[in-house]
Amino acid sequence: MKRIVLAAIAAAFLAGCQTTPTTAPVEDKSAAGDPSAAATAGASTSGTSTAGVGGTSMAEKDPRKDPGNILYKRSIYFEFDSFAVADQYKPLIEAHAKYLAANRNAKVALQGHADERGSREYNIALGQKRSDAVKRMMTLLGVQEAIVETVSFGEEKPKNPGHDEASWAENRRVDIFYAGE
């Protein structure tokens, strides 16, 4: 204990004169492959999304931002060690597929996630398998392959930071992001 306290005091005392000669701050964000960059380059999607979905006819309102619209829902959850999209999420995926078919400028990134158990690198592959599964369903519904990018965060971005089964269930998921969001 004494060791940690002394080290902490030393660290606090010395924090004022930090030098970081080899620090390379992350700032040169590469645009390639970044869906938000793609959206900036293309036409703005907000404001042009006037086509109705599922009976919605409000021309000015973006249905994706309407909590009452199914397009507001963006997460698909998975069972442990599973990549199968459960039937309950099919209406959600169909709604987004329809929206993408109707809005030619829209693009999506599907972000796959895994729970924290096991290898971080293998979990990237597990999350990828989940985002690929959602993409496959979308393309079967007629969505162009080129406007859907599937990526994975593995276990790195849990929705719930807990360490029990209930938390893990929230973390095994695919999140849908539209370019520009």
Partner: protein
């Protein structure tokens, strides 16, 4: 058995300052040791008290931390020997020491210091090593590590790793950092800071560059960063996910996992990202590749058999061989430098443990108890394995000897530490 190196930790915390930023310093605690540690006396060096940071204390701490040595108290012996010829072996044998380290630190007119030491075998009454170094005070730590390396090699037959460096990732709130520090945790330097996750740091074989994965572009992208300049390059930034970099032994190539052609598949490219070629095709997950020491094969994780297991791909013939069969989850293989086996992570019930497997006998030796042990990284001499585990929801680093007998814990106050990577031998 729980000897914490209090004095060293405080000295390190105080003296790291003039040369570098003080960060969450890793301190090493030995939590289990070898039964057959060599008893050794490290006598305070003559003239050492004239300097704020001595050398003998660091040498002793290095040796003790390795778990291969047991320090014999030396301060009560008067007069204090500083040269091999002054060592009265009977006195040291009587105190239980099999070996004695003596030395001196002599200031030179130009401000540098003549540091010399001798290692005496108290049993055979012979001098095993005697060397001198002319160094600036700022190099005292490095010099102490070199001396400890010489002693370790003379007495164990294996090369020491006290002069090597480690890399690791910390998470504090939403801030991720990739740091490089001395193998004893001293002198941590931040080389990348990001608000998005960082993963998979991997040292180039010459120790000049680190490959890693950053999520700063809202997806995994592989970078290679030069440690001297801080300059970096995105070497794998394809559509989809780019992850799991591994250097070839000659430092010219990187193996990576890419999803650009569908699925997580293995590719090899030049270290600058050019010449990307797929080395295998499967409809399963293939990832976590590491080159074998001869550069001719990759060990990797695949779920082609229904559960994640470790396979070996011969890069010349394309032949694939499954290596693990025991259990339903065997991942994160790292080839041992002797070419005889590999370290990996296995799941036993719900516990993740570090284990080794021999290629020829397929015998598995479980080294740790878990429950959350992962990301193993092997010291260049093959004797110690650094890994991450989680205690109370917070990640810490730990080390275990490849025979499982020596266990250490590396503690950084109030920081979540993960993804350790042990660097190569320092260039002479």
């Amino acid at each position: 058995m729980h000897r914490s190196l209090r004095l060293l930790a405080v000295l390190v915390a105080l003296f790291a300052l003039p040369f570098s930023a003080v960060r969450a310093q890793l301190t090493i605690e030995i939590v289990g040791g070898a039964g057959t540690a060599i008893p050794i006396a490290v006598v305070p060096f003559g003239g050492e008290s004239a300097f704020p940071l001595g050398v003998s204390g660091i040498v002793g701490a290095d040796l003790q931390r390795s778990g291969m040595f047991k320090l014999v108290a030396a301060d009560a012996v008067v007069p204090r020997p500083t040269r091999a010829e002054d060592v009265q072996v009977d006195v040291w044998r009587g105190r239980g020491a099999d070996a004695v380290v003596v030395g001196s630190m002599q200031p030179l007119p130009d401000g540098r210091v003549d540091v010399r030491f001798a290692l005496v075998d108290a049993v055979k009454q012979s001098t095993l090593a005697a060397m001198s170094y002319t160094v600036a005070p700022a190099q005292f730590r490095a010099t102490a590590h070199k001396i400890a390396d010489v002693i370790y090699e003379k007495l164990t037959g294996d090369r020491g790793v006290f002069s090597t460096k480690i890399a690791y990732i910390t998470k504090a709130g939403a801030r991720y950092q990739l740091l490089v520090a001395d193998a004893d945790g001293a002198d941590p330097q931040t080389i990348v800071t990001s608000n998005e996750p960082l993963l998979s740091p991997r040292w180039s074989p010459d120790g000049t560059r680190i490959a890693y994965v950053s999520f700063e572009a809202k997806k995994p992208v592989v970078y290679v960063q030069n440690l001297a300049t801080g300059g970096r390059q995105a070497v794998a930034n394809f559509r989809g996910s780019n992850s799991s970099p591994a250097w070839s032994p000659d430092g010219r190539q990187l193996a990576v996992t890419l999803t650009k052609d569908g699925g997580s598949q293995l590719f090899v490219m030049a270290a600058d990202g050019s010449g990307v070629r797929r080395v295998m095709s499967s409809n399963a997950i293939d990832t976590e590749a590491h080159f074998t020491p001869d550069g001719g094969s990759l060990l990797y994780t695949s779920d082609r058999g229904g559960s994640p297991q470790i396979y070996r791909l011969n890069l010349g013939s394309g032949a694939v061989e499954r290596l693990t069969f025991d259990g339903s989850y065997n991942v994160s293989a790292r080839p041992l430098p002797d070419g005889k086996g590999f370290v990996f992570v296995r799941r036993d019930g719900g516990r993740f443990q570090i284990a080794t497997q021999d290629y020829a006998t397929r015998q598995v030796q479980v080294l740790t108890a878990g429950p959350g042990d992962e990301s193993p990284s092997i010291a260049p001499n093959g004797r110690l394995i650094l890994y991450a585990n989680e205690v109370g929801g917070r990640g810490i680093l730990a080390a275990v000897s490849s025979d499982g007998r020596i266990k250490q814990r590396l503690v950084a106050p109030a920081t979540d530490v993960r993804e350790p990577a042990w660097g190569p031998y320092a260039r002479p």
